[in-house]
Amino acid sequence: MKMPKLSTILFYLFALLVILPFLFPLVWIALTSIKTQVQIVAVPPVWIFEPTLENYRRVFVEQEFGRFLLNSTIIAVGSTVFSLILGLPAAYTISRYRQQALGVLILLARLMPGISYLIPWFILFSKLQMVDTYTAMIASHMLVGMPLIVWIMVNYFDGLPRELEEAAQVDGCTLQQTFLKVVLPLSGPGIITASTLSFLFSWNNFMFALVLSADRTKPLPIAIYSFVSYAEVSWGSVMAAAVVIIAPAIILTMFFQRYVIKGLTMGAVKG
């Protein structure tokens, strides 16, 4: 058996040291979620203890988190699907016909601070009596998801070879047919990147729901926040709720690791 070199061991130790601070808080959240209140406030912190699922029971039974989980899913999936429907064709013609003005509009939508929409949206949706509807929540989240999808897909389409499309058009395909039958089937990786990010951004969004949702459409970030507005914070329940909300995002990220990295670092590295 070959002994690993000392330099290799040192490198791994070092890599562990670098990565640990990023991992530790998440592990601590998970550990705290299965502690009792007494164990949580113990100083020094308890490392070995008998785990309890009481916090999760409270979160799901007393706080009805199942409902909020469903709301978040409806809003994130809905906004991603509709963003794809609007965004994919737009991204395609922006890429192929250099529709600069639209490109700038999309870029503006990506730069704009979300808070600048809150007052007009609140007033608009109040007047339409649409506050606390899935339509309003999905529409608001689409303003984050759609520009993101267009941005990623314009980059993706730019990198696709055009020969196939040109051949299809010579054969008499209309633009619609070329797009649906030739381009979309080649766009899997781009669409996965774009939809995963759109889903994550919607899943994590807090600000829009703060003014546009109430009892009926309340998503997870608002539900967990309302825990701390009680007089005494039950930290165990807060952490259990945190696990419930963070876990799906993490699982999705692990599943689509390469795509998420690509999407998040896109635009910064040429090529």
């Binding site: 890599a15 912190p45 016909y97 929409y117 609140f122 899943w203 967990i224 926040y225 945190a242 670092t265």
Partner: protein
């Protein structure tokens, strides 16, 4: 008619998306501009009267506005500076092939994709002065306990630390991708010429990497400037106005005081700042062909 549609179908493709953006973004922003010129508030009985630039006069004479501006810049500069140094450092040190690199990258992704509200609440518990891990760690290190979020002097650095935890990985991953795309010739040439690792870093790696780092810094700065979730959940702008950034200030004016006119003027100022600085950056980006 049919032919007309056939010829212009390229404009029909993006039409729904464009209409959506006009309805949900352009119109609301214009509306905000209009409201910023009125005295609309709950106190005015819900009626809006045109008052010209009065809200801006009041805003620019308001110490809270300058406080918010100062804190926003402080938070952004502090967080992004530390993230850049750490992120570039991590990327350089991990810049080699090893088993488990993919796992390591996945772990780096987690702070970025974890829901900020939940992260904010968890860090609130870490920072809790008596039972929190932060002060326990300080004690282990032999350092004095801190009040973290509860003291005006430490609240912004404490919040920035959360942002640093969340977003250092982004700079690291961007720079790692940048390093992977660098040509190998300049490095070989430098090695052949007998350059030391430090010289190679200073005169080869850094200049080649500069555009990537610059873009990463710009992207991060724009996002850090807009930070809302963690500040709102962890301090709500307090203690006092100790962490009341522009975002929080505008939100408080609008949705705690219901002074829509005043809040809109703060939003217009914020918009001008974000878009103004973005345009400057875009201009330079184009000029430098980054």
């Amino acid at each position: 008619m049919k032919e007309y549609i056939e010829n212009n179908v390229r404009w029909l493709f993006p039409l729904p998306a464009a209409l959506f953006i006009v309805a949900m973004m352009v119109f609301p922003v214009l509306y905000t501009f209009w409201v910023s010129l009125t005295d609309w508030s709950l106190a005015s009985g819900g009626e809006a009267h045109f008052v010209g630039l009065k809200n801006f006069e009041v805003l620019f004479g308001e110490p809270r506005f300058y406080n918010a501006l100062k804190l926003t810049v402080y938070f952004t500069v502090l967080a992004v500076a530390v993230e850049t140094v750490l992120g570039v450092g991590i990327a350089l040190l991990l810049n080699r092939e090893f088993r488990g690199k993919d796992t390591l990258k996945t772990i780096l992704l987690l702070p970025m994709v974890a829901t900020p509200v939940a992260i904010g609440l968890a860090w609130t518990l870490f920072y809790e002065p008596t039972v929190g891990l932060a002060n326990y760690t300080m004690k282990l290190l032999g350092l004095p306990a801190s009040k973290w979020l509860a003291d005006q002097a430490t609240v912004i650095p404490s919040l920035a630390l959360v942002d640093i935890w969340e977003w250092t990985p982004m700079i690291a991953l961007i720079v790692m991708a940048g390093l992977a795309s660098l040509p190998s010739e300049p490095f070989e040439a430098a090695r052949v010429d007998g350059a030391t690792p430090l010289q190679i870093f200073r005169h080869v790696t850094l200049p080649l990497l500069a555009p990537t780092i610059l873009v990463a810094v710009v992207l991060r700065s724009i996002d850090a400037f807009k930070t809302f979730d963690i500040i709102y959940t962890m301090t709500g702008g307090g203690p006092g106005f100790g962490s009341e950034t522009m975002n929080i200030y505008a939100y408080t004016l609008g949705f705690q005081y219901f002074r829509f006119g005043a809040a809109s003027s703060a939003l217009v100022a914020l918009l001008a700042l974000v878009l103004g600085s973005s345009l400057v950056v875009l201009y330079f980006r184009r000029r430098w062909e980054v």
